[in-house]
């Protein structure tokens, strides 16, 4: 996951790497995702999310497309 100056720069990078365009998030969205995903990582009670739990978390942030599905 990389940061770019603009959507145009993402397009150039995808072309250079011959990769299809993935998903673009605003910095605010990425921060909310990072916060939700990692906030409790150091706690003794942390465990890997189930697929359903991960989908629910993505969904709570509006990330509902097929791109954000593990299965």
């Amino acid at each position: 996951m990389l940061i770019f100056r603009s959507e145009d720069h993402i397009g150039r990078w995808c072309s250079a790497w011959r990769l299809p365009r993935g998903a673009t998030l605003s910095v605010e969205q990425a921060w909310k995702l990072a916060d939700a995903w990692y906030r409790d990582r150091m706690s003794a009670g942390w465990r890997r999310r189930t697929v359903d739990e991960a989908h629910e978390l993505f969904g709570s942030l509006g990330l509902t497309s097929d791109f954000w599905r593990f299965s």
Binding site: M1, L2, I3, F4, R5, S6, E7, H9, I10, R12, W13, C14, A16, W17, L19, R21, G22, A23, T24, L25, S26, V27, E28, Q29, A30, W31, L33, A34, D35, W37, Y38, R39, R41, M42, S43, A44, R48, A54, F58, D66, F67, W68, R69, F70, S71
Partner: protein
């Protein structure tokens, strides 16, 4: 690590089940990483827990198999204790806590922001545009995030492919 494993720790001798041991290794790895500012080795985790290096190595391998750590291919030392990277990356993180400024590396921009989230403090990510290399700083101040210059974040691979090549991802 079959069966109960006796552990010696500061609080005395007690017995834990294997899953508890793996979790204790995982938690102490993170705690030692954050306390020291660098990723501890298998030997250092073992010394801290008062157990054998082989036991920690086995726990690392099982945690990696469960996608809870990423190990270096040769040494089997930790490469990624997500969101933290054990080695320098293009995603440097500076955090501001009560005990002063600290420096870290994230594995990607998501993880770099995750370091700030995990440590629950203010901080900033010193990164650069993946295309042109222009310097970019993403700051988190009291939970509010901003980027200078403005930017967008790109996930190249869909979620189902994240672990196909976690180092690339």
């Amino acid at each position: 690590m079959d069966g109960a494993l006796p552990l010696v720790h500061n609080e005395g001798v007690y017995t834990v089940m294997p899953d508890d041991f793996k979790n204790r290794v995982r938690v102490r790895l993170y705690e030692l990483f954050v306390e020291s500012g660098r990723c501890p080795s298998k030997s250092e985790v073992a010394a801290d827990l008062g157990c054998g290096v082989r036991d920690v190595a086995d726990a690392f391998n099982e945690l990696a198999a469960a996608h809870m750590l990423v190990l270096q291919p040769g040494s089997r030392e930790v490469l990624m204790a997500n969101p933290l990277s054990a080695i320098p990356t293009p995603f440097a993180v500076e955090t501001q806590a009560a005990n002063g400024q600290r420096s870290w590396y994230g594995n990607c921009i998501w993880d770099a922001l995750g370091v700030i989230a995990m440590l629950q403090c203010d901080g900033r990510v010193l990164a650069s545009c993946g295309c042109c290399g222009e310097s970019m700083t993403v700051s988190v101040d009291k939970g509010e995030v901003s980027s200078r210059p403005p930017g967008v974040i790109h996930f190249a691979l869909p979620a189902r492919r994240w672990w196909d090549d976690i180092v690339f991802n």
